[in-house]
């Protein structure tokens, strides 16, 4: 039987009794782990949905090609058939992941006493990691798709042929840049929501809308659409994707500063 009489016992839990503090690198890595602790949401669910889209599209395309053959035509003779779906789904899903990360995981991480700085850097690390992972996966599938002649059915879903991109490396870059863009734009918009609620987001999109209308008006009244077209052609898909880095970086920096003073509310 142990007895403590006075109320100041030997060992209080005080900051100084925590022998080791957690290093900044470890703290940021912990935030990334927190984002990934529920694998279902960031990995299994999008992969599953993507598989469903792919399998069902392929089935439909297979049925269609059988019908064409019966009618005496040859599906192979029609040139490659490009089916969208999987890639746009994935990129938009990652936008949702980013929004959830800021809107829900941020208030949760605050409950774990994580600083906004560590949270944002950890989230950025997660976004980068997920972008790399999915860019490798998607470009890998695109390569496999090309190597198997559109899965033996001349049907293409992962390749970026519609953007005129065939090679493996540019496919990878475009996926990576698109994913990064959607992650960081999603995070910045969600940060606006957390900090200024719905009106902040509405205000931002209103301002953005006017800006875009203004630019369209500018191009139209100055008869510069030709220049815009030339610029797009000159840069190519990869070039345009590279320019998106400016937007991604701007969103990344803005998201950081917006979240820095955001308060999670009930």
């Amino acid at each position: 039987m142990s007895t403590t009489i006075t109320h100041s016992p030997v060992a209080h839990e005080t900051p100084s009794s925590d022998q080791h503090t957690i290093s900044a690198v470890q703290r940021i890595a912990n935030v990334a782990k927190l984002h990934l602790v529920n694998r279902g949401a960031v990995l299994w669910l999008p992969l599953f949905i993507m598989s469903v889209i792919w399998v069902s599209s392929m089935l439909i395309w297979w049925i269609v090609s059988v019908l064409i053959e019966r009618a005496g035509g040859s599906p192979d003779g029609e040139g490659p058939v490009i089916m969208g779906g999987a890639n746009s789904f994935l990129v938009i899903y990652m936008l949702v992941v980013a929004v959830q990360a800021i809107n829900l995981t941020f208030p949760f991480a605050q409950g774990y006493s994580v600083t906004r700085r560590d949270f944002y850097l950890g989230s950025a690390l997660t976004f980068l990691g997920l972008s790399l992972f999915y860019a490798v996966l998607m470009s890998g599938l695109a390569w496999l798709e090309a190597a198997t002649g559109g899965w033996g059915l001349n049907g293409y879903m992962f390749g970026l042929g519609m953007l005129g991109i065939v090679e493996l490396a540019p496919t990878f870059y475009v996926y990576l840049l698109a994913l990064l863009l959607f992650f960081f734009v999603g995070a910045a918009v969600a940060a606006m929501y957390v900090r200024w609620r719905a009106w902040g987001v509405v205000g931002f999109f209103t301002a953005l809308g006017f800006l875009v209308i203004g630019l369209i008006a500018l191009a139209t009244f100055t008869d510069n659409w030709g220049v815009v077209g030339e610029w797009l052609v000159a840069n190519g898909a990869v070039g345009v994707a590279l320019w998106s880095l400016i937007v991604t970086a701007a969103a990344g920096v803005a998201g950081f500063f917006i979240l820095r003073h955001a308060t999670p509310r009930a």
Partner: protein, 296 residues
Amino acid sequence: MNAAIEVSNLSRHFGDIRAVDNVSFTVTEGGIYGLLGRNGAGKTTLMQLLTAQDFATSGTIKIFGESPVENASVLQHISFIKESQKYPDDFKVKHVLKSAPWFFRNWDADFANSLVSDFRLPTDRRIKKLSRGQLSAVGVIVGLASRAPLTFFDEPYLGLDAVARQLFYDRLLEDYSQHPRTVVLSTHLIDEVSNLLEHVIVIDDGRIIVDESAESLRGTAATVAGTKTAVDAFATGRRVLHRENVGGLASVTVDALSPTDRAAAAKAGLELSPVSLQQLIVRLTNTSEKEFEQSA
């Protein structure tokens, strides 16, 4: 004794609303504190400020001697799961148990697991699908098992049944004995926890109206009841915290009575009854400032 929390002239305004209004107080390291007040009195805002989840309009906060704002070296010693805590979408109880140790150095996984079975918490269930009581249990488990040097419990027993509430008090006292730390219990249900508290801070309308040891608050007030004339005569010259009239009868809550006062009251045919901490605080927070000053 070092200060765990030092607050001076702290205010937090939302437009015209003064959620926290020029508040100053100190919490010394080690001890179980009560942060009491009605719903909407400013308890949660105050705790959000102390844990750097919110930003002060003015004033200073020091936690273990440093400002907590964006200060990881201070924040990693704090545990604060809000009553209205948000969780990531589709998060399950097991995800909380898995991730919490990454953020709390003192996390005791065995203790957490034993609490999970004590509270009969289904670990594979989504947080969204938990009952209010189970949700409170998650907060209680993180608060206890984190063993953070500064732990806040925000309305910890909302939705918990009597058995689970007793379980919480028992586990808290048990673990606090083994691992003393600074605990702040925030609640508007005072009677149940009043015996656990060493020190009481009462916030009302954004201001601190009581900052005293629980023991000295005990017996600081008494209720005197009897005929209106006798009560009025007795109450003259005393601070009246509360008054009720029913027909020719009256009941007043007054400051602590000395034995002589008690004898006098008994002689005047008045009935005396003790005032619990909860009653005292209800009296204090119901009474407007003006009434206070008038009867003082």
